[in-house]
């Protein structure tokens, strides 16, 4: 962790002074990061590199946001503070994460409650209704719902995986009995996501769901069935939502309308091209021509200023983090923990894949954040909690005293 803070200092030393700080604020953040890792139950061995990676990525992101928008960087800094405080506060709770399995339907209820709040108090931004406003704070509950759904799926599958795995594919009764709750929980969230028109998060949840189901049961037929359902949903969305049509048209040919719908995307391609191998250098490029660069397109800004090498290094850090999360699961003997770690790792990994593919043009762009790096308080809080949870799960299993 000390190493992580040193790397953060190297990064933030270059940032424009008016965008971050005051210095005591950065010192406070560093101190909190140290407290986070130092404060764990005695006698446990945990994977301390995992929180360190989160801190490095968050510091790097703060540096990028500071360079793109000083006003957002000030807010981002406060969100990092909140995230660290929450991660520290939840530490003792996460230590007993195995008890979460007993409350699995609570997570479904909590997700539905958040969705209901969204429907009642939600604010519409860019055609999608994603935000709840509480006083001066805007929060995007889907980021938390993402965690809740993994918590539910892992607990449910840990109990029923062997039954689902052994059910014959053509036995309707066995399949409906155990898959029913899964598809109700999942289908409800998918339906509401389509209603919310947040296809990025819908894709992310589906990918996580399919991964968990496959890892737990090795039933490829269910996974293919789910993918087929999603494909039908996606086709329906393309036909009914003009904004999805625009996204796909822009993806297929960003230069057909370079000053209109394709402006953001084509500017991002110019950024990627301008970066080249080693990049233009921090604060020397011009990623600010891309609209919404600090949230959706931060990866294009990274690629412009740190080049292909810098962009790949950032991806390598994400890869390390995901690998460590999977490993935390593999080292645990019980199925629930294995599945939970797999699910949480898959969530983080797929989120990176979906947004980075969107930026570089492999997939149509969907407005989700690059974890830790993008500007966005909801995403920071949820992802810090995710890392804190997996960090607690990486503790070695207790020997019999």
């Amino acid at each position: 962790m000390a190493g992580a803070i040193a790397v953060a200092a190297v990064m933030l030393r270059l940032a424009p002074a008016h965008a971050i700080g005051p210095p005591w604020m950065l010192g406070l953040l560093a101190a909190l990061a140290l407290v986070w890792v130092a404060w764990q139950p005695s006698g446990t061995v945990r994977d301390d590199v995992l929180p360190a990676l989160a801190v490095v990525l968050a510091a790097f992101g703060l540096g990028m946001v500071a360079r793109l928008s000083p006003a957002l960087a000030q807010k981002q800094q406060l969100w990092i503070l909140v995230s660290l405080l929450l991660a520290i506060a939840m530490g003792p709770v996460f230590t007993h994460f195995r008890r979460f399995a007993a409350y699995k339907y609570l997570w479904v209820v909590a997700s539905l409650a958040l969705f209901a709040m969204l429907l009642v108090f939600g604010q519409e931004v860019n055609g999608a209704r994603l935000w709840i406003r509480i006083g001066p704070i805007q929060y995007e509950p889907i980021e938390l719902i993402k965690l809740f759904i993994v918590l539910f799926l892992a607990a449910y599958l840990a109990e029923t995986a062997d039954v689902i795995a052994n059910a014959r594919p053509w036995s309707l009764r066995a399949n409906v009995k155990y898959l029913g709750p899964l598809f109700i929980g999942w289908g409800a969230s998918m339906a509401i996501l389509v209603v919310q028109r947040d296809l990025g998060m819908a894709t992310l949840l589906l990918a996580t769901f399919a991964t968990l189901l496959f890892v737990a049961t090795r039933r490829l037929d269910i996974v293919l069935f789910g993918a087929l359902l999603f494909a039908l949903g996606a086709v329906w969305a393309v036909h009914h939502y003009p904004y999805v049509q625009t996204r796909i048209a822009v993806w297929r040919n960003p230069f057909s309308d370079p000053l209109g719908a394709g402006y953001q995307s084509s500017q991002a391609y110019y950024s990627l091209a301008a970066g080249g191998l080693v990049g233009s250098g921090y604060r020397l490029g011009h990623p600010e021509f891309i609209p919404d660069v600090a949230t959706d397109y931060v990866y294009a800004a990274v690629a412009e200023e740190f080049g292909l090498i810098g962009a790949l290094v950032v991806l390598a850090i994400f890869l390390d983090a995901v690998r460590r999360m999977f490993r935390a699961g593999l080292e645990q003997p019980d199925l629930y923990t294995k599945l939970l770690a797999t699910g949480l790792g898959a969530t983080l990994g797929f989120q990176v894949v979906i947004i980075v593919s969107g930026v570089i043009g492999l997939l149509p762009l969907t407005g989700i954040t690059l974890p830790f790096v993008s500007y966005g308080g909801s995403s920071l809080v949820a992802n810090f909690l995710l890392i804190a949870l997996v960090w607690a799960m990486s503790a070695r299993p207790r020997r019999n005293a």
Binding site: A6, V7, L14, V49, F60, A101, L335, P397
Partner: protein
């Protein structure tokens, strides 16, 4: 001449070098974090088949069963060790194995699983002579060996 096209050369140089330093620092993080933790990769998640022998004392009757973890203990007939005990949940507890060690884990049962009289709320290693209590049934671990 410190300025070309309005940009300060000193600033340019500082940022150019600084960016390379940042990339190098991040690359160092990525490489160090890729190093596996403590043990060799082959040791992680390895499936050593294990065999656990339990002496089950169920409503006065005694029987000896041999289980190959992972397996489920519960009231349902689909469990690997089905118990006819009304205080046992349908899917009560699991016996797991990892790297040649056998563990017991509760599956969120209503009445709990107890190991040597202490409630199991996470995963705990099983050794020979341990007593597992579920509902009114007591199981004594008579042997744990590779099988």
């Amino acid at each position: 001449m410190t300025a070309i096209f309005g940009a300060d050369i000193g600033f340019y140089r500082a940022m150019r070098l600084g960016s390379l330093e940042v990339t190098a620092a991040l690359a160092l993080v990525a490489i160090l974090a890729a190093r596996p933790r403590v043990r060799a990769a082959a040791d992680v998640g390895s499936l050593t088949p294990m065999e656990v022998q339990l002496d089950v004392r169920e409503r006065g009757a005694r029987r000896t069963v041999t289980l190959r973890p992972p397996c489920v203990i519960g009231r349902t007939s689909e469990a690997d060790l089905p118990l006819r005990d009304a205080e046992v949940s349908r899917r009560h507890a699991r016996i797991e194995t990892q790297n040649g060690v056998v563990y017991v884990a509760d599956m969120g049962s209503s009445n709990g699983t107890f190991l040597n009289g202490r409630r199991v709320d996470d995963v705990i290693e099983l050794r020979e002579g341990d007593e597992i209590d579920v509902g009114t049934t007591r199981m004594v671990v008579t042997s744990v060996r590779a099988g």
